[in-house]
Symmetry: C2
Subunit: 149 residues, 2 copies
DNA sequence: AGCGTAATGTAATGTTATTACACCACCTTC
DNA sequence: GAAGGTGGTGTAATAACATTACATTACGCT
């Protein structure tokens, strides 16, 4: 059961262990649901899914777990969608750019440290210290550019 | 009274007229409050301010007006702060980058079309059509870099 | 066993945003 | 100048998103 999800979960477990933290049963369930969703999910949708297997789950249950996973770098919060998505490369140091489609609400993560470094330098010139971990760019994904509707 | 605010309001009026839209009394009051605030303001804080001079104001009053002003390009919504800020250069075509300080929640708008064009091109390479009007970058402003607290 | 900290449960509340429908002002057309 | 359409606003209710505060449990350590 859920065999296909084991690898990322195990990776998360080691990743957390290296930080002195634990992937508890609750966290495992939440992360599993996040992975199963493919793409960003809203906190309350996640809560609804979680409640199917853990009836007592409440908003704090899911928000606490999300906060933890976000702090650990395993999950990213997408401000423009008020949603959460698993980072595809959380186990490796990276400077991801989150490409958020304004039409289908899909999110793609592009790792381009070189590009980020350029931006960082440009902005430093105007006295602003960019946070290199969570850059969110809105636009249209490849699919959504075609359809105008 | 409010003499200093007249110029931007008048500019907004002409700008809207050119689009076939009107700066009604309500919209004028809301925009005036936004201008008076300097920096981003939350919808419900704006509502509270508005209610002082317009007791019947309710959430739809302010959200409708904000939606209108955002659509007209006069106001920007800051996703990461769930706040709204007047665009300092709405009357001129521009491609602003919103530099959002994660500590003091200040927002600075940097107009750098050249830089934006570079980004647009880079991203187009990966099939993503960036929205050039609302790029939001998180980080620390000049003041907040000093203090670590 | 006794203690301290991390994790979770639970109830209530706070904050942000939308829906639905009523009403009015204004403009156009007949 | 009545009828009808549109845009703008009023009002009530509710939905959606997030946090606080406190109780309880799990678990490693002495
Ligand atoms: Zn990532
Ligand atoms: Zn899309
Ligand atoms: Zn602007
Ligand atoms: Zn600052």
């Amino acid at each position: 059961m859920a065999r296909i999800m084991d690898a990322p979960l195990d990776t998360a477990e080691s990743w957390l262990a290296a930080r002195g933290e634990k992937l508890t049963e609750l966290r495992r369930e939440v992360l599993s649901l996040l992975l199963a969703n493919h793409g960003p999910i809203k906190a309350y949708d996640l809560l609804a899914a979680l409640q199917k297997q853990r009836p007592g789950a409440s908003p704090p249950t899911v928000y606490r777990t999300l906060d933890f996973l976000v702090a650990a770098g395993i999950v990213h919060r997408i401000d423009s969608l008020q949603s959460f998505v698993v980072c595809p490369t959380f186990h490796a140091p990276h400077q991801g750019v989150l490409l958020v489609c304004e039409r289908c609400h899909g999110v793609e993560e592009l790792d381009s440290p070189l590009w980020m470094e350029t931006m960082r330098r440009e902005l430093a010139g105007s006295g602003f210290a960019m946070n290199q971990h969570e850059l969110e760019i809105k636009g249209l994904c490849r699919n959504c550019q075609v359809v105008t509707v």
